[in-house]
Symmetry: C5
């Protein structure tokens, strides 16, 4: 679906509603460009766009299908960029990755979004409010999209941080339940998220060092700033991976220790039951001469003895920490 198609001249949007063909023809001068926005385009819808802007067949093929990896490819004198916008659903503890593709040429930019994720609408709005930036042409659109996608990574890293801390608490709290599955699921999410962030740094490097056919001009420093943010997120994600691996191991030790505590508690109770049983066994013996048996208070005394032993053992076990 073609969401929007605008002609920009000197950073300002032309008022006319233009068809694709008209827009492209008008964008001939050096100070104007066309920005076409697509959402889940069908191959047929894309065909028209691809023909107008001479997009490379292979890039088009990638752009139609979702679930690409983050990358930057140079086709002739245009760029094809794939980004993975991310969102963290904190309740389900799941990272969802989307797909944003950009074709960046000298006088046009085509943005494609798959699925619900992707801040393209608000990026266009922001840019239309910042003509100075937009006047720098298609590279400004690329920068603005990159900036937004990477900025949206930051709160996810923070959310993961908090979840890692919660998991740590679960592991080390006394009544922790079994956090193994949660740790594992979290690690899975961190790996998933890592795919989005790690894949970005290399493409950004090409942009920062201006190794692309579309000149980055004065935006190079801004792109470096985006890369710096991506690096920061990536660093945090790496730390999360490391921590979750350690927490999984610590959890193993905690499981062992809790197992031991349970075994000792059980044994303490067994001991508390075994000793009175022995006493009962003794007074159940059939010897002819067992003086206690004849005492009038023998029976209550025996019960008292048993109760006393139980209480004594219980107190002892409390003291050495087994109960």
């Amino acid at each position: 679906m073609i969401v929007d198609c605008g002609l920009y001249r000197d950073g300002k949007r032309s008022d006319e509603t233009l068809s694709l063909g008209e827009a492209y023809d008008r964008a001939g001068g050096s100070d104007s460009f066309v920005w076409v926005g697509l959402h889940d385009p069908s191959p047929e819808e894309f065909d028209d766009v691809a023909r107008q802007f001479h997009l490379h067949e292979l890039a088009v093929e990638d752009a139609i299908k979702a679930h690409q990896r983050a990358k930057l490819e140079i086709y002739g004198d245009s760029l094809f960029v794939v980004l993975k916008p991310a969102r963290y659903d904190d309740d389900a503890e799941e990272v969802a990755l989307g797909d944003i593709m950009l074709f960046v040429g000298e006088r046009f930019v085509v943005t494609v979004r798959h699925g619900e994720l992707g801040p393209l609408g608000s990026v266009r709005e922001r840019l239309e409010n910042d003509p100075a930036l937009l006047a720098r042409g298609p590279i400004a659109v690329l920068y603005a999209v990159l900036d937004r996608v990477v900025d949206d990574y930051l709160p996810i890293a923070t959310d993961l941080d908090r979840d890692v801390e919660q998991v740590e608490e679960d592991v080390f709290s006394a009544d922790g339940g079994n956090p193994t599955e949660r740790i594992y699921r979290l690690k899975r999410q961190v790996l998933e998220f890592h795919r989005a962030t790690a894949g970005l740094i290399e493409p950004l490097d090409l942009l920062v060092r201006n190794r692309v056919p579309v000149g980055t001009g004065p935006l190079a420093e801004y792109l470096r700033d985006v890369q710096d943010h991506a690096r920061r997120v990536d660093q945090q994600v790496d730390a999360h991976r490391d921590l979750l691996t350690s927490v999984l191991q610590a959890n193993l030790a905690q499981v062992g220790i809790r197992q031991n505590e349970d075994a000792r508690r059980i044994s303490a109770w067994v001991a508390i039951a075994a000793v009175p049983t022995l006493v009962a066994g003794i007074y159940g013996m059939n010897f002819d001469q067992m003086p206690e048996l004849d005492w009038p208070w023998g029976y209550p005394l025996a019960l008292l003895l048993m109760a006393g032993i139980c209480v004594g053992l219980y107190v002892g076990f409390r003291r050495n920490g087994w109960l």
Copy 2:
């Protein structure tokens, strides 16, 4: 066995049935080439081919034996490429790797297949239906084979993905049985598959950067696309390795926790049996004066007491989760 031997001129197959020698002689012009297809060739069968196309002795030696590693080697002005086509048998959860070798010269291409795996037949069919591609000469054949082999990797990665998810479920489900062996076997398959995919990326790099004596010309971008797919598969396989390592560790914790649960369940039943035994012991004592023994309802009351204790303990253990 020589499966097929065709002379192609301007992307179209010559109708004549030609012997090896004839085909090679006719392929003299710049717009024609010979494509010989072999299957499990015996050294004798290969001899003839090798002599006709001046294939290098060492490459021939490799081509006769299966179980090579994926590689690309330059011999004079021809290429020798080994690919590892893969198939996943989802029931046995086993990755099977085959061997496809290609000799690519200026005016010929020799394809060799070992074992059952390998889509060479359908690749030839596809190419014969695409004269424009085939007209680009032997490099087009190399591209088409690479494209197919790598495209066949994608569903395997997806299958492994699903198996990893199943294994995760097994680990974290209550009645999970023992998924240890399955996890391990899966990891083995992932490592096996990794051998096929990882070994491809480096050779593809040589092709993409056109560091080979056989010019890739306008196909360079198509080869980069194949490499991109190989990278995507490789990335997924890496993630699988990582996940399976973590799942093996999580499984260890789960085993420990299930062990503990069993130990507690056992202990609960022991306790339920031990307390009535103690009561029986008490009323088995031989004291002269044990008033309960003389009560007419003493015995049924004792039985009731025992039953009551059992029920009470059972209910208590249900409540604290031990049963």
Copy 3:
């Protein structure tokens, strides 16, 4: 908040109290520079400074927010450096990281501190007492700050060292309690500290090799010395990571072994109780002819037998190490 603003000429501080604008105008000659110190600046406070010294918008944005990663960025002919001063709270076993940012130009240096951590005050004092160093201009300030920040890392590495040793003792001592959580927390701190130290080595490399627009001149060797110290700390931190991973694994084995010791101790006591119970059971049998039952000393002898068995078992278990 602007903490201090001084004009330095030939390494000596000018006596006059100058406003930002005056200071900058006076610093025109080649032997003088302005040093502005800020603490937790608000965007408004920073605005003025940024305008006076033509600081780059993106660097300013970073400088206002804390929690940056250590880095060195070149903007035109000035440098933007972020450092992470650290402090170790030995009681809480927590590493706290701060933020120090420096803008280093030809004729000015702006230092920014976030939070409480950061030795900027004492660095200025030290420099004002060393006019020879200060006469080398803004790069001398950068060196002095780097030197101090890195020097402050050394005692932290030593503190972590000691804590790692304590944790080792806990793991291998008989009454060790459960050091799992402490090991994990320590590993977390080491990873945190690693972020500060590892991030420094690369930026320092740019300085040492003089790949920056602000000439390091004869200070290059001093900067290499700082880098050497950073490397030493980094090496120690790496060793800590490695050791803590091993200690976590060793702890797991210790947990298992302690579990086994407890299980054996418990079983020994169970055996000590079980055998007299059996003896009591035997003499509780109702056979007509059980000669011991008629012996006058039968009962005391039976009790003695039981006690003897208990003592014998106890001694035996002490000997084989189960008790």
Copy 4:
């Protein structure tokens, strides 16, 4: 001990029996070279050789002592190569490494073997039967030795493969015994073998790229073939390491699971014994009125009850898999 000393001209061995000195003098022309073979040479024996061929003191020192690492060193215009031939003793599951050193000059080659391992004799035989190869001079000898040493690695990799599979079976079979030690020993052997194979690839690279003073000429492709084989072995060995690490972890889980199975089996038997004991205890109580006690068939019925309970529990435990 000097095993053999031959003068080769145009790939054919001269018939004369020559002393070292004579051989060297005769090898003056461009088509002849001397090949001296030594076995466990004493320093004195080596002295003579070293003097004749002007071997470098340091290389000689290395050549006299066994247990070097695989390497290739350039001394002036001659090469010093150390290889580690390997043999796998399948019964002891032990990899034995030997030492072969080669000094390769323009007109001579000196081969040294330490210990029993090393196929130098049969290599000389093969070469003397292949004058075309031998005519290429000393580099042909180096190639032939490399080829043989690396070819001998292949069956070892296969043997290790089979042992890894056996170990896997042990781990996952029900009556597996304790394969921990075998896994560990195997890993040790794999690491040992890795030392031989991994150390070869880098030296071979120097040869393949012809970065050595002794021209490899048309043998470069053959040397690349040797390197390819070494890489294949190395890849397999890497896979073994990875698998053995995983198998060690899987073994841990299996140990835990077997532990649990034993614990449940034990508990089942305890339960089967505990319930009849309780029944016996009940009928051992001394209540005045226990009607069952007076029944004539009371005792056999009680025994039947106990047996019934035992059988019932046994059947139940079989069904839920505890027995």
Copy 5:
């Protein structure tokens, strides 16, 4: 403390006893140099030396303090080298690292030793007996010290090898005690030793490739030999790390298995006690008609039955390996 100060001309030591200043003045020609040896120098003692030889302030600072990392730094046209001589105390299983610093200039060499470790005395002796080597100037001293320090690493690697083997035996022997702590301590020592060896290879590379202001001349090959030895040690140390990690994991499995064996042994004894207790309980029942009770041999037969059951169970448990 200045240990020694000698003037060497053409590899021979001058007989005169010279003060520092005199020595330096005399060492003007191209064939002579001064060698000053210091041990634990105080800053004051060092001052004099530093002034005479124009040593760089930062290098001096490092040289006064022990516990530096191994490194090579270039200051103007002189070198500053830090080495870590090592000694292994086999009883305490502890690696002790020392500090040797060298300042190497065109016409002087200053050697500094901290602590007891360091073979400087014997190196000087060796060199004074080898005038040919010593005539090559200060670089010969550097070579000789490096050679000795690295040669002293070799027996340590062998000692660690033996200790690793002992630890393996402990892990896999039946009565192994608990080798966890020893494994861990050994790993710590290996990491410590690794610091000494790994830090050397890079500085040696600078020397081997002659990237230093002090020409290595014909000693380059000798320095490469030292580097080869350092590499060999480093390779062994890496193997040790790998093995100890695996042994720690194997130990975990062994702990689990031994735990299980103990649990089964305990249970066997419990069973042996439980069955006679049941028999005693049966004959303790109070049924009116229990024919066995009236048999004259009833009691001895019951005892026999119990003993028989115990023996039978014991034999059975021996057979299935539980006892």
